[in-house]
Amino acid sequence: MTQFAQPITSGYQYGFHKPENYAFKAKKGLSQKTIEEISWHKNEPDWMTKFRLDALKIFYTKQMPAWGGDLTKIDFNNIYYYIKPIGKKAKSWEELPKDIKDTYDRIGIPEAEKKFLGGVSAQYESEVVYKSIQNTLSKKGVIFLDMDSGLREYPDLVKEYFGKLIPPADNKFAALNSAAWSGGSFIYVPKGVHVELPLQAYFRINAANMGQFERTLIIADEGSFVSYLEGCTAPIYTTDSLHAAVVEIFVKKGARVRYTTIQNWSTNVYNLVTKRMRVDKEGIGEWVDGNIGSKLTMKYPSVYLMGKGARGEVLSVAYAGANQHQDAGGKAIHFAPYTSSKITSKSISARGGRTSYRGLIQVFPHATAAKTKVVCDALLIDDASRSDTYPTMDIRHSDVQVEHEATVSKIGDEQLFYLLSRGLKKADAEAMIVNGFIEPIVKELPLEYAVELNRLIQLEMEGSVG
């Protein structure tokens, strides 16, 4: 990894360095100057500087979305747009809010991991893990870097794909990300290569990944396979109030990509993420998306089925507790014949929390013999909670098979009494019902994620019972 040895302009540090090395800190607020500075500090090619500045103009002209959640409280002038992620994290374990520390303790996360998750430690041990994974991958020609390094080391490849699937003009927050992005992952899998181990952002631990405006680009060349995991179920504490990421994924002919996210931002965060996969002929694109944290999440991972026989799937699970709104779902756009899509959404609202399913199915005229299925189920824990469904279907011809199922249910008194009568306490019984409800999605998660998610639900239920 040559960049570790290179002298780097200004105070910006890549990779695994001590927090006190981070000298540079931009002023609060967004301006052309801030964006120019970011690009200059990163020593970026001119085209990227221009891309950022153009995106900024678009950001200024775009309206805030009038639908979804309440975005009126976001103050764009009160945000740092460029700051090394390590630098903005809590400096010591003691500075972390008590509830976050308590949750780590109760989930039973090892000390070292706790510190990393809390943003306290740079976790040097993980560098070793990362490097050994890198060795295995590079033998197969797989590229797995943070986005900044990707741009420096593979500028042509990045230029060919970057912003092509989600252009800055897509929406206001995609424009913001395009202007101010930092960190995220860059992955390229060559033709026919199957990456056996799931790639985890967790291993690529240089905290850039957890930035506010991370940008991820994955290219799976023909016939390849890769599974990518990001996030973790333990709450990620951040003092930033806005997380606006962009994820672009290219699934070439016959390739398959699965992208799994578990999001558990602290409940002061607006989580506004644009995720899109382009799936070519006979390729398979899958999103597994879990949203537990944040104040407001607006996220609808989408699959653009471009080639004949392409398949797309979105599995979405959302939990909204007190003062939380999860506006999540998925989109499938059918451009080609014999394409198929499935969106499964499960949401839970408790303690006055609100979940919304928002989905779009579009089938264009030449997408003959297409199939699509949407299943969205909502579970309400109490009367104070809320759930809504906003499905949109735009089908432009008749040779298409469409299924849509939606249910809203409350934890039934009968179910609760049944489990209580077997000796379970109320919180255990509720957690069992909720975990049963999301089981079809949880079983798709890696075991450790599934276990942690189940435990989190348990903790949330204990909290809601008081």
Partner: protein
């Protein structure tokens, strides 16, 4: 030592259903409760288990397990005191398997005397993959031993092993559901068990299997209440006492022969009063 019901009066909504019921069920005995539709049999079962929809009317009402009055206990506390109810219409719980439920319930019911630990709970995945975790909660049985015991008891009842992993009471036939209720009783080994019309929906072979299991529970010292319309289950699980419940009152109590009287001439004799 007994399950004592004293002066139990219960209402559902505005309507009083049970009037001044008193019964005593000793360990190792079978009590049959028979009665026409709407006489309050299921209300008795639900009220004993602590269903919050059923309100206790008489302040003198008592339900005692081995001299401890549990009338103010929640259903979960009653279960941990050793009471069990096999439901007439067990409700479906999607995504929750009987194996998962029993694993958790077994720990809670069996480790009742120890203050239950914080993280005992819903961790099928952990339990299935780490015997350490579960054995930590229940030193008596490892996960492996528990599973073996569960499978063996299921086999005895003719329950296919794959049923143990399927969602509880979802897409099962009436008879299969009843067998799964029976299985839960056998695993949790309650001190006192109430079977609310466990015989409906069972074919003759299944009926024999279930009745045999009830008899087995009795032999291990469990006090059993069998609520039924029909005498046929009582041929295989012979009751020591039969009580006739009509319009919320116990109008007759006698030995096993009373069931045969009912079979012959119905409840008319008591209903007309």
């Amino acid at each position: 030592m007994s399950l004592k019901i004293k002066n139990l009066s219960v209402s559902l909504g505005e309507k009083q259903i049970l009037k001044d019921i008193s019964l005593e069920i000793k360990p190792g005995t079978i009590h049959a409760i028979m009665g026409p539709n709407g006489s309050g049999k299921s209300t008795l079962a639900q009220a004993l288990m602590g269903n919050p929809n059923y309100k206790i009317q008489n302040p003198k009402s008592k339900i005692q397990i081995n001299n401890k009055n549990i009338i103010n206990y929640g259903p979960d506390e009653r279960a941990r005191e050793g009471l069990f109810l096999a439901f007439q219409n067990p409700t479906a719980i999607p995504g929750v398997s009987v194996a998962n439920l029993l694993k958790t319930a077994y720990q809670l019911v069996k480790s009742k005397n120890k203050e239950s630990r914080h993280k005992v709970g819903i961790r099928d995945a952990v339990n299935a993959h780490s015997s350490q975790t579960a054995s930590g909660h229940n030193p008596a049985l490892s996960v492996w031993q528990f599973n073996e015991m569960l499978v063996e008891k299921a086999k005895k009842l003719g329950i296919p092993q794959e049923f143990l992993r399927r969602s509880l009471n979802e897409a099962f036939s009436g008879g299969e559901k009843k067998k799964l209720e029976m299985l839960q009783a056998l695993v949790l080994e309650p001190k006192y068990a109430i079977f609310d019309e466990i015989d409906t929906g069972l074919d003759v072979d299944a009926l024999k299997i279930v009745a045999k299991a009830i008899d087995e529970l009795k032999k291990t010292g469990c006090g059993v209440v069998v609520i039924t319309h029909y005498q046929r289950i009582l041929k295989f699980a012979k009751p020591d006492f039969v009580h006739i419940l009509v319009k919320g009152k116990i109008v007759a109590s006698d030995g096993g022969k009373l069931a045969q009287t009912v079979e012959k001439s119905g409840y008319k004799k008591w209903s007309e009063n």
